[in-house]
Symmetry: C2
Subunit: 357 residues, 2 copies
C-alpha cells in the first residue's frame, strides 16, 4: 500500500496562484488518496478556492504569509527579500520534515537558489541539476540538466548520469536504467573533451547502477534510445525547448492541413477520436514538472503558465519521488560512485587509450 | 533571366552514390534549366545512370576517378589519402573556376576539412561554419552553426550572425534579415559569457546589414522568430537533430492515432489530401543541404541517406547561392563588420554597462 505523504505547495507560485495550485492538488489527491497537503500563501485567497474542494480541504493545512517571490526577481534578490515568502516556507517544510516534497510554479532561478540554501546539496554535489521528463515513442525518459547549470565537467556529467539513473529507478521502477550521453554524433565531430572524458569514465567503471549506452544524438531522445539522457544545461535547455517548439509547429501544420478543404474537415471530424489520442500524447501538461536533483530534499518546479491538469502532474511527480525513497538511494549511489570514479579517474593510461580509440 | 551556372557534383558521395546523385541533378535541372553539371567519380557507374537521363546528359560532363572518400574516414585520413578523390576533385572544380558551387553527400568531416584546404577561408575567418535551413510556421530560417565547430567566442558568434544574414539575403531575398542569438531564456539563467558578449556587441554596432532581434529560445526557432538563428555548433547540432527527432516522433503518434479504430481509419482516408499537405510540410528532404559558410567558394553538404528528391534540394540550394553572388557580398560584409566590431570591442565601458543591465 502507498504510505501517507505530505506535499508542501507554494500556493502563490505561477501565473495563476491558488486558482491553479489548489484544483491541481485536488486532481492529484483523487489519484493518490494517501496524500495530504500544506499550502503556503495568502490565507484568504487560498481558503476562497479551498472551500470549493471539500475532500482536499479535509487533507490540507494552510500557513499564511503575505510575502511572495515575484517572477521578475533575480535569484539574489529572492534570497535577500524572500525569507518567509510562500516559496521559502514551502521548501522549509521539507527541510523540517513536515513535508516529504515541495512543489512550486514560481520563478525558476529563485526556486533553485532557495532550494540550494534551504535543502542543501548532497555530499559531493556543488549545484543541483534540473531534470525533465521527456515523452518518447516508447514511454518517457529523463533528460538532465535542462538549464540549472551552464557547462559541465566530465565529473559533473558522470554525476548527472548517476542522479538521472536514481530518478529513473524511482519513478519508472526500472532496476537498471539505460543511460546515454548526448553528443553531436560520431562521424564528423566527436564532441567536447568533457563529454568524451565522461564517456571513457562511464565505460570504465564496473558495476554501475545503470546500463551505460554511450553517445546518443538529438534525434534519438524522442526515439527512446535511453531511459536517461545526460547533457550540460545550455544544450539541454535548448534541446528541450526546441522539442516543445517543434511539437507546437507541427500542431499548427496539422490544423492547417485538416482545415484545407471541406473533405479534410469532414474526414478530420470522423477521425476526431484519433486526434484526441494524438492530442493527449502531445499534451505538454502530462509531463509538467522539472525536478531539482542533488539536494537533501525533493523540490519540483511546475511550469509557471500551466493549468490545474498540468500542476497535478507536477504534484504526482513529487509524490512518486517521495514515495520511492529517492533521496536515500541517491545518497548511497553518490557515495559509491565518487569512490569508483576516483579509481578510474586516477588511471590516466585508461583514458589515453580511450582517446586514441 | 537566370544566368548559366555549373555545379560540380561528387557522384560517389552518400549511401547510394550515382543512383541518387544523378536523378537528383536531373530533377534540379528541370527546375533550373540554366544549370550544367560536372560529375566526379567512377565513369562507368556514372554513365550507366546518366544514359537514362538524356536532358541531363546533354548538360553534363563526367570526370573519372576511382578514389573515393569512405564514410568512415576521419578528416585527417581523408586529407592524407583523399587527393584526387571524387570529393576532392569536386571542390577543386570550384577553386579553379570550372564550377560555381560544389555538392557532396559524402563524409561531413572529410568534406569540411577538404573544403577548408581547397577553397580556403575568407579573410578573418578561421574555420567555416555549417548552416542549415530550418522550416518555420512562416517559411524557413537559417540556423548556424549546426556542428562544424564546437564552442564559439563572442567574435565568432558575431561572425556567424553576419554570415547567416548574408546567406539569408542571398536565398530569401530579404535585404535586411532579422537575426537572433539562441540562448536559454532571460528569467533564470542568462546564458554563457560569450553569448552575452556577442549580444552586447550586436546591439552596439550601428548600421549592421541585418536587424538584430536579441535572444531567441529553442521553442522560437520553428515559430519563425528570426530569419537567422545563431548558436555555437554543439548546441546547434543537438537542436537540429532534436527537432528532426521530434518531427519523426509525432509522425509515429499520428500514424498510431489514425489507425486506432475503423472510424479514424475511414476519417483519415477522407482527409488524405490534408495528410499529404502535412507530409509535404514536414518532409525533411525539402530542406536537405547544409552549407559551409566562410569559404572562398560554395560547398553544400547533402544528407548521406537522402534520395533523389532530397539531393535535388541540395543542388537547388547550391544554385541559389551561386546565382546570388553570395561570396562577394559575404567578403564585403565581413570586411566592414570586422572594422565595426573592432570599434565596439575596444570600448570596454560599453560592455560593462551592458553586463550590469
Amino acid at each position: 500500500m502507498a504510505s501517507p505523504k505530505t506535499i508542501a505547495l507554494d500556493a502563490m507560485g505561477g501565473d495563476h496562484g491558488p486558482q491553479v495550485v489548489i484544483p491541481g492538488a485536488a486532481l492529484s489527491l483523487e489519484r493518490h488518496p494517501a496524500l495530504s497537503f500544506i499550502f503556503f500563501g495568502d490565507e484568504s485567497r487560498i481558503n476562497a478556492v479551498l472551500d470549493q474542494h471539500a475532500a482536499l480541504k479535509a487533507k490540507s493545512r494552510v500557513v499564511h504569509t503575505s510575502n511572495v517571490v515575484s517572477m521578475h526577481d533575480k535569484p539574489s534578490q529572492a534570497l535577500r527579500r524572500g525569507k518567509g515568502s510562500s516559496m521559502w516556507l514551502t521548501l522549509e517544510a521539507v527541510k523540517s520534515g513536515e513535508a516529504h516534497a515541495a512543489v512550486s510554479a514560481g520563478n525558476t532561478g529563485a526556486l533553485m537558489a532557495m532550494a540550494k540554501v534551504i535543502l542543501r546539496p548532497l555530499a559531493g554535489i556543488e549545484r543541483p541539476a534540473l531534470a525533465a521528463l521527456w515523452p518518447t515513442v516508447r514511454s518517457e525518459c529523463i533528460v538532465l540538466d535542462v538549464g540549472a547549470n551552464i557547462g559541465a565537467t566530465a565529473r559533473k556529467l558522470s554525476e548527472l548520469a548517476l542522479m538521472g539513473a536514481a530518478m529513473a529507478r524511482a519513478i519508472f521502477h526500472i532496476e537498471k536504467p539505460t543511460v546515454g550521453l548526448l553528443n553531436v554524433g560520431v562521424e564528423d565531430i566527436k564532441g567536447v573533451e568533457e563529454v568524451r572524458q565522461a564517456h571513457a569514465w562511464l565505460k570504465g567503471v564496473a558495476d554501475l547502477p545503470f546500463d551505460y549506452k554511450g553517445f546518443v544524438e538529438g534525434d534519438q531522445i524522442g526515439h527512446g534510445a535511453a531511459d536517461v539522457v545526460v547533457v550540460e544545461g545550455f544544450a539541454g535547455n535548448i534541446a528541450l525547448k526546441t522539442a516543445e517548439g517543434t511539437a507546437r509547429q507541427i500542431g499548427v501544420y496539422l490544423k492547417g492541413a485538416m482545415t484545407s478543404s471541406l473533405l479534410t474537415k469532414f474526414g478530420a471530424l470522423l477521425a476526431r477520436g484519433g486526434f484526441r489520442v494524438l492530442k493527449a500524447k502531445m499534451d505538454p501538461r502530462r509531463v509538467n514538472g522539472g525536478t531539482f536533483l542533488g539536494l537533501k530534499g525533493i523540490a519540483v518546479k511546475s511550469h509557471g503558465g500551466t493549468d490545474a491538469f498540468g500542476f497535478a502532474s507536477a504534484v504526482d511527480l513529487a509524490y512518486e519521488m517521495a514515495d520511492s525513497g529517492l533521496i536515500g538511494r541517491l545518497t548511497a549511489d553518490l557515495d559509491t560512485f565518487h569512490h569508483k570514479i576516483e579509481q578510474v579517474a586516477s588511471k590516466p593510461e585508461a583514458t589515453s587509450a580511450e582517446r586514441a580509440g
